[in-house]
Subunit: 406 residues, 2 copies
Amino acid sequence: MQTLFIRNVRPMGADPTSLTIRDGRIAGYGQEAGGGAEFLDTEILDAEILDAGGAILIPGLVEAHTHMDKTLLGMGWYRNEVGPRLIDKIDNERAQRRLLGIDPARQSARQAVLAASLGTTHIRTHVDVDTEVGVAGIEGVLATRERYRDLVDIELVAFPQSGMLIRPGTVELMDRALRLGAQVVGGLDPAAIDRDPKGHLDVVFGLAERHGVPVDIHLHEAAELGAFSMELIIERTRALGLQGKVTISHAFCLGMADQDSVAALIDALAEARIHILTTAPASRPAPAVKRLVEAGIVVAAGTDGVRDTWGPYNHPDMLERAVLVGLRNNLRRDDEVALALDTCTHGGARMMGLEGYGLDPGDRADLVLVEGETLADAVVGRRPRRLVLKGGRVVARDGVALVEAP
Amino acid sequence: MQTLFIRNVRPMGADPTSLTIRDGRIAGYGQEAGGGAEFLDTEILDAEILDAGGAILIPGLVEAHTHMDKTLLGMGWYRNEVGPRLIDKIDNERAQRRLLGIDPARQSARQAVLAASLGTTHIRTHVDVDTEVGVAGIEGVLATRERYRDLVDIELVAFPQSGMLIRPGTVELMDRALRLGAQVVGGLDPAAIDRDPKGHLDVVFGLAERHGVPVDIHLHEAAELGAFSMELIIERTRALGLQGKVTISHAFCLGMADQDSVAALIDALAEARIHILTTAPASRPAPAVKRLVEAGIVVAAGTDGVRDTWGPYNHPDMLERAVLVGLRNNLRRDDEVALALDTCTHGGARMMGLEGYGLDPGDRADLVLVEGETLADAVVGRRPRRLVLKGGRVVARDGVALVEAP
């Protein structure tokens, strides 16, 4: 692969320097075309040379929780008249999937291209597995993962959105999804949906053990109920030695009023090295990001469903998500804005166990250049990404991906 | 003033029609250039004719709560290292005003132009009055109001940000601000800041009575303390016959846990016709917009401070604010998205008592055209405004204001 030399970049808002990319990885900083000690002049002279105009360099954005198989991007506007309960949304979506003809391959491809144009280089997506769709969603998103592998890395979670134990046959489909190539086993509200917290979690962790894969469980259950389910997850994580391999998404119970219980849960999560994923929901209790990070817990951020039958608002822009994390957690100081950004970069990378993620020499050249006077300005500025690189190749420029969506 | 004829507009997302604007007001819909009953052909033929390309027509956006005198727009990035308490932010801001040289006229002009480019046609802005700045902020924003009167209507609230009773001389300055041209008397956390809820509110309502102006009080006080201050405001509103003339901004106490108290406050607010302004804060308890609207209370929305010493996130885009109102209040259905938008249009207009606001024939032609398949799509689409009209004149096009900011 050709060497790429980018002048006038500011890593995380620091002073301008140059960046050399070789074989898809960061080779080093501070070289001058035609000079410098680390590389041969000829290599720089042969390189493609870009000027970043002082843009700020950040590592590729990590979308750590979304649902690419069922976004309605590029489809006609869906008029939402859904009822207020969680089960209303789940049942409605299963019905609409047929009525609207939501094609998981096409829709996940649309979101992949849009996300890449916004600087996302890694995605963890929860893909529905149920007795109606079977593993068609998994197959569709696997096709997108393969087709767009040079654009963005996609990790699939086999996700029993409609429950497992209440819908016989789902467990076998989950097993099949993992054999097909889903890399993570998902779960969902063990008490509220499957009505059997022990049974649900035993199946989820059983699949994790059998397939040797990480776990990522949607836990919307509130307060004391969610805390009980969380305790069961912690117990199984310890018992099976899955420390560092388990994520709890949403974790609304960590926003409950009983601060003694929250403190006890945080201690136990940190000790079991369980990661927390937040979408920073404005209308629900939510985990306190800074408190979790200070306790040593990996906190990642995600968009959740993008323009789908659940709701119209979400946009897969992880800088916008950093703003929402900041707003939700009252992170106003510049160092706190950097913390909000961290949930959308390193937090997600640690949650997903990404190798070679970051801005150090040797790291993969999955990178974003965005304008801004300072790092915080780059986060809050609502500006198109100037350049997005994946594996050292330019994949988007000035907010536009270089490949077209279907 | 010349007649303006706009083809192919969709009022609130309805079927395409044409719009005729005459003398700065909406003359009618459905006319055809060269035909039609209501207007003379010659008038249409002489008119400036625009094609909206099927864009959605909404009334001008109403920014019902901001602080234009102290935004840092266009200034160097302010590195925020401020402490966590409300008083830390107030004291820091007073100090930074001098250190940074925040010019109220210049800064309010920058925000006015940016807001207009985003479709805002009316602004209520709270302008600091204190013993350090005196009425210089008021004078600066009054200059902006006059200079940009064809771009956006600006209403000034004389706002005792640093307290009144704890800073002798402030009451006299408030009085002076109202004589200079501030149209509303402001107040702030009567217990938490001035440490004298009765004393603070008696002064605020005394100024309202003496000057014959409406009242708009920042009430951040939480739960039972805020509820007590709110009761005092309701009592004075009734006693002075100020029904329909009083706004409580923020009103965090309406988000408190005690639902019986919340219900009693809502009944009393509705009976006293007190308006509620929300910024839809994600990190604080907040009024439940839908519940208030269903109780007959006028609910308006605002951005609060835009990129200032308090925090970096806020952007004066009232469609973005509608999204934040929707996210904060879990308004997912299309009819609920319309409700969120309503807080940023008619809600603000009713709060401010605007005459001739809306899309009916005879209403002032303060209008926004924005692309979208449906009204909800236009709200959530994060698209530049195609056209903004103020008093029947085009003031912004494709997201760019036709006047330059200083």
